[in-house]
């Protein structure tokens, strides 16, 4: 197998592992829009990184973390109308990032790579970073599992029962912010949320417990990754969107099958 394919697979596996664990909660807490806002904001991080000539990963994480905290504030102040505010933040950051990139005369920027991912171009450093973050994300999620599940079921009930709702929520959002920085290379900022929610939504059909749903979401993510990369290599299609197409195909397939069986 070619080297770049192996690297792509390694990075992709880490990302679907992370997105499976994080994605189910995005569904349960009806936060799909949050994922979009966060990943769109990543492009602003890209622009700042390129303009200042400093670490792009660091800036993406910083911008996303900042946006996550901003959204947490908005969530706690329902008067602001969270859907609207999320839309404004996410799209403004995306537009601002795109505009800012055009002001870089000396850098040839492949915008498509940021918008839709470029998994075949991941470096060994990217892989190390991705796996490092995956270990961190999965570790923290295991630790946070019970309180996060409890507050996803009912936040006020969880708080009365002693869950530190704000801290748990903030930590979860920051983990997504971290994930965005590395997952961007796989599917890009525009399709990143798809990787979080589609395998999780597909997994719901088979799961009888929350834990099962995570396991199935990860497995389905792996299948989508392999199928998508296969499709991309065979048909010469862009890899990120191909993975999402495969994930959507799996979702549709399971819907049809489970409808027949009922």
């Amino acid at each position: 197998m070619d080297d770049f394919i192996g690297r792509a697979l390694l990075a992709g596996l880490a990302v679907v592992l992370m997105s499976g664990v994080l994605g189910v909660f995005l569904l349960w807490r009806r936060m799909a829009y949050f994922g979009d806002t966060l990943s769109h904001s990543a492009l602003l991080g890209v622009a700042i990184g390129l303009m200042t000539g400093t670490s792009m990963n660091l800036w993406i994480m910083l911008v996303c973390a900042l946006v996550a905290l901003l959204m947490l504030y908005v969530q706690n102040n329902p008067a602001l109308g969270s859907d609207t505010v999320l839309g404004i933040i996410g799209h403004s950051a995306l537009a601002l990032g795109t505009v800012a990139l055009t002001f870089l005369p000396n850098v040839r920027v492949d915008l498509m790579a940021y918008l839709f991912g470029d998994i075949l171009a991941v470096t060994p450093f990217d892989i190390a970073l991705t796996w490092g973050l995956t270990v961190l994300v999965v570790g923290v999620m295991v630790w946070l599992w019970r309180p996060l599940l409890s507050l996803s079921v009912h936040a006020e009930l969880a708080q009365v029962e002693g869950v530190k709702v704000w801290w748990v929520s903030a930590t979860y959002m920051l983990l997504i912010a971290l994930m965005v920085a590395v997952a961007m290379k796989v599917v890009g900022v525009l399709l990143l949320t798809a990787l979080l929610i589609i395998p999780a939504a597909t997994a719901r059909r088979f799961a009888r417990t929350p834990e099962q749903m995570v396991v199935f979401a990860v497995l389905l993510g792996v299948v989508a990754l392999l199928a998508g990369m296969g499709l991309s290599l065979q048909m010469d299609t862009p890899t990120g969107p191909s993975i999402v197409v495969a994930a959507s195909g799996l979702f549709l397939l399971t819907q049809v099958i489970s409808q027949r069986s009922t």
Binding site: V153, L157, Q159, R208, T209, P210
Partner: protein, 258 residues
């Protein structure tokens, strides 16, 4: 401050923008005693519970709870997303650091939902859900039980049973209860103190006294006579005549049209 209190609210005030939600509300909660909040929609009943629970900060006034007070809470609106696969058993034990099947079963048996344990939470009927919520609230051996309309979605026959259950378990566990309820006639019997709320406290006291209070009558009409009838016969009367004293039924005649 007496140490017999479980919790105490003093001169609570809260407003959202221009709208006054609560004005100068005080209350005390004691062990083994039931405090019922009544009042029209938008009277601030749920908000007052949230302040008592520490979920909402008041603009003014003081909130005191016994240190490390164990609270069981049944929220007003509970809806579990269909995308979250969760059995009743897991739901009841969700606040445990480690799942304890025996404790969950015991709590479920107390409220009579042990048969529902393997079911999905989303499959429950309104009445079953309220009981399951109660089982979860009881799991932690609460000293204070806070119930926000525990009777919602429960049919009429199940309703009195539910309130009797809450009262019966009170004797066993010794918890104090604060609840919001619209089922005046059913709650009155099991209540030690009624607090009639409409942004401010209209009136408070023992159930019989409150139900004769002019402020109460202004808000709810003269439900006194009807309340009495329903109280003994367990069916509701909506055909109340304003201001008129409905004569008490002397025989079974009244029961036939329930």
């Amino acid at each position: 401050m007496s140490i017999t209190h479980l919790a105490k609210l003093e001169n609570i005030g809260l407003h959202f923008g221009q709208r006054v939600i609560l004005h100068d509300v005080s209350l005390e909660v004691y062990p083994q005693s039931v405090l019922t909040l009544i009042g029209p929609n938008g009277a601030g009943k749920s908000t007052l519970l949230k302040i008592l629970l520490g979920l909402q900060k008041p603009d003014s006034g003081s909130v005191w709870r016994q240190p490390d007070l164990r609270i069981g809470y049944v929220p007003q609106k509970f809806h579990l997303d269909r995308l979250l696969p969760l059995t009743v058993e897991r739901f009841i034990g969700l606040n445990l650091w480690r799942h304890d099947a025996a404790a969950v079963r015991l709590s479920a048996e107390e409220v009579g939902v042990q048969a529902l344990l393997p079911q999905a939470v989303q499959s429950l009927s309104g009445g079953e859900l309220q009981r399951v919520l109660l089982a979860r609230a009881l799991l932690n051996q609460p000293q204070l039980l806070v119930l926000d309309e525990p009777g919602q979605g429960v049919d009429v026959s199940g309703l009195s049973e539910l309130y009797q259950l809450i009262t019966r378990l009170k004797q066993k566990h010794g918890y104090g209860v604060v609840m919001v309820s619209h089922d005046l006639h059913l709650v009155m019997a099991a209540t030690d103190q009624v607090l009639c709320l409409n942004q401010h406290i209209c009136c408070s006291g023992q159930p019989e006294a409150v139900s004769r209070h002019p402020e109460y009558l202004r808000l709810f009409g003269d439900a006194r006579a009807a309340g009495f009838a329903v109280y003994t016969h367990h069916h509701d009367h909506q055909h109340d005549i304003h201001g008129c004293v409905v004569p008490l039924p002397t025989d079974g005649e009244e029961q036939r049209h329930g």
